[in-house]
């Protein structure tokens, strides 16, 4: 048995599965760093997966291999728009952010399947897309034994995800926008007294959040599944929230946590190679990411590093 190859495959698959989680948890990071709880990541991912698939379907005959890019960008825009009600409810109307998020999750699940049925003549899922993203091999580097396959043969969306981690870090920790974003999430009144528009910051953050989460959703339908159905996202938005918290609201931390949960998903192919499935039902293997999420949340993370004003609506005139 070639252990190098097995490891190489594991890393390769981990990156595939982590990509969506990285997008979504970065999305969550913007919202939560601004003080708005975003449990609607799941719904935003669903909308992204749906929009990405439908728009790619619409353009795949005319644009060919460009169609997934159109779908991908459309997903981001759709996600930002879909996030707007969450911002309106939790920032302007000071509603409970968890309730608002849960409502969006239900809305996304219902709306996407309903629209799918209308567009695809009553079918519960889109037809399989003829054009999706294909993996890019980085010239030169992908020839490196083992390492090349592991890291340098990946979907373009994976590369974008890793670049976004860096960009987010830069934006959040190095620029005035980031300083203000974090100030609004830690102590909105302090931000207000130095002239920062708390509402505007939070609206912006929630919409960025929707866009990124939707991009994450689109990476699933435009790479691994090649279609959209009701279970395309299947809880990955919640895992992304867990990754965000596990990563202590830091882009690199969230990426690390997303990779960790990615391993849990990738490992099921390993299990099949070893023939373990004859001893352990596959259902248990598929449960792994979710079980790990619970264990991680229960065991390793305190609330100490959460933004101080997370979940608290900001009331300007309160005495």
């Amino acid at each position: 048995m070639d252990w190098g190859l097995i490891l190489s495959n594991l890393v390769h698959d981990t990156i595939v599965f982590s990509t969506a989680l990285i997008f979504a948890s970065l999305g969550g990071l913007y919202s939560e760093r601004s003080g708005v709880v975003n449990i609607a990541l799941e719904g935003m991912m669903i909308i992204g997966a749906f929009t990405g698939a439908v728009m790619t379907y619409a353009f795949q005959d005319s644009l060919g291999s460009l169609a997934p890019w159109v779908g991908f960008i459309a997903a981001g825009i759709g996600g930002a728009i879909f996030a707007l009600p969450h911002a309106v409810a939790s920032v302007s109307f000071k509603a409970d952010q968890t309730v608002s998020g849960v409502a969006l999750n239900f809305l996304a699940a219902g709306l996407s399947v309903y629209l799918t049925k209308i567009i695809f003549n009553g079918a519960g899922q889109t037809t399989t897309l003829s054009q999706v993203f294909s993996k890019w091999s980085i010239p030169g580097l992908h020839d490196i034994p083992y390492l090349g396959h592991a890291i340098f043969e990946a979907y373009p969306t994976s590369y974008i995800a890793f670049i976004l981690v860096f960009l987010t870090w830069f934006l959040v920790f190095k620029t005035p926008f980031g300083l203000r974003l974090r100030a609004v999430g830690e102590h909105p009144r302090a931000a207000d007294t130095v002239g920062i528009n708390v509402k505007k910051m939070r609206y912006t953050a929630v919409m960025i959040s929707g866009a990124l989460a939707a991009l994450g959703g689109a990476t699933i339908s435009l790479t691994t599944t090649s279609n959209f159905s009701h279970n395309t996202v299947s809880g990955q938005g919640f895992i992304a929230i867990a990754a965000l918290i596990f990563g202590k609201w830091h882009p690199a931390g969230a990426m690390g946590a997303a990779l960790f949960f990615g391993v849990a998903q990738a490992i099921k192919s390993l299990v099949q190679i070893f023939g373990l499935t004859q001893y352990v039902p596959t259902e248990f293997i598929f449960m792994l990411p979710y079980v790990l999420t619970i264990l991680v949340m229960a065991g390793f993370v305190g609330r100490s590093s959460a933004p101080a004003a997370l979940g608290k609506p900001y009331d300007t005139g309160s005495r």
Binding site: L179, A183, A190, D192, T193, G195
Partner: protein, 512 residues
Amino acid sequence: MNPVKNVVEMRGITKRFPGIIANDNITLSVKHGEIHALLGENGAGKSTLMNVLFGLYQPEEGEILINEKSVKITSPNVANELGIGMVHQHFMLVETFTVTENIVLGNEPKNGLQIDIRHAEKEVEKLSDRYGLKVDPRAKIQDISVGMQQRVEILKTLYRGADILIFDEPTAVLTPQEIHELIEIMHNLVKEGKTIILITHKLKEIMAVCDAVTIIRRGRVIDSVLIKDTNPDDLAAKMVGREVNFRVDKIEASPKQTILAVENVTAMGNRGVNALNNLSLEVRAGEILGIAGVDGNGQSELIEVLTGLRKATSGRVLLNGKEITNQPPRNISESGLSHIPEDRHKRGLILDFTMSENMVLETYFHPTFNKNGFLDYGAIDKHAAKLIEEFDVRTPSIYTPARALSGGNQQKAIIAREVDNNPDILIAAQPTRGLDVGAIEFIHRRLIEQRDNGKAVLLLSLELDEVINVSDRIAVIYEGQIVGIVDAKSTTEQELGLMMSGGKGLDGGEKR
């Protein structure tokens, strides 16, 4: 034109909140280069007025002139542009940010896309040196002292080019040493051409630093005078609306039987070492026993043991001869012990409950308020209305959340509730912390009234003046032990100070 012009003029400012007029036709003029005090009791409307000036609140009526030009201050941004800066009572600082990040927030110097943090740190250092503030620009807010945090607030306003600085109760959170330094800083600021408005209810400070004072009571301006034309008694009377007695008048105590006996109690502190070491004391009916000591010598732990909030590892506590050691708090309170807690926000009130609900926190299960497992809100509200009237708690209504009340009124409400339980012993921990003279006088009177009604009172305070003036006997606590008990009438601050720092009393204290 006058050589000294008015930099701030507020004319006929009226600001209403639901159920309350916080500012009623207020007029205020502040001259360039002066330190102008805004004096008033808690809840008189000082902070509201300043929030109007700073653009956080919009007044319903009135006009504001800055440098003799009429302006509309619609947001803190506008205030900043007009050169108005505010040092808030509750600091507007992000705990996880550095000093520099907090100062530049909203006005960040840039280098390309990035914040030019190096440049910002240098700027902060320069400003800090110029005004003698000694602030480390790279330190995180959560790691620096409260006094230092306040200087960061001052730097924030200076960095924005403020010429008019509003200080909102700046000394409430400071140690005496820090207050001294702050006064120096304020003098430096005025020397550099700034104008200062100081919100306070502390007469001592006003007399020490201010040039002029405007007195506000219940949302109205009572008077505006120069410091050289006034004195503390006059100011206190104007602030409270009647003569204030700084001395505590009381008749001779006539102690009777022992109500509370603490026998050799030992208890662990939060750091895992003994905070109380074999501590013993007695409080008798008809007397006030004061406990003097430097903060952190076991005072808080003693109160927690007495009220059932902390376990004693050995020893006994007897109330009316009945053992209450390590009983649940409810049993202890039902046995006749009431408690005015040190931290009124944490242990005294549930801030988001209404005043009405807060008044029955310890008694809601009594048949009076509880019919077959349902709360009788009719009875609860009537009870609250009675107490609020009797103890002069100023609240818009009994349905107002406790959070919305001023500190003094919150404390009055707690005292109303505790005294109404008709306890055999009342434990008052720092009952006047952060309150103004009117409220302090009120609370002292209530404690003495308890005593005169033949009840026992245990008073714990970090203010030596208070312990000496209110108590009949004073027990000094040091490292978890009572190191001496003295008669309040014959002792001196020097004697107590010596015992508090671990030296024995002059003649070993008068052991009783």
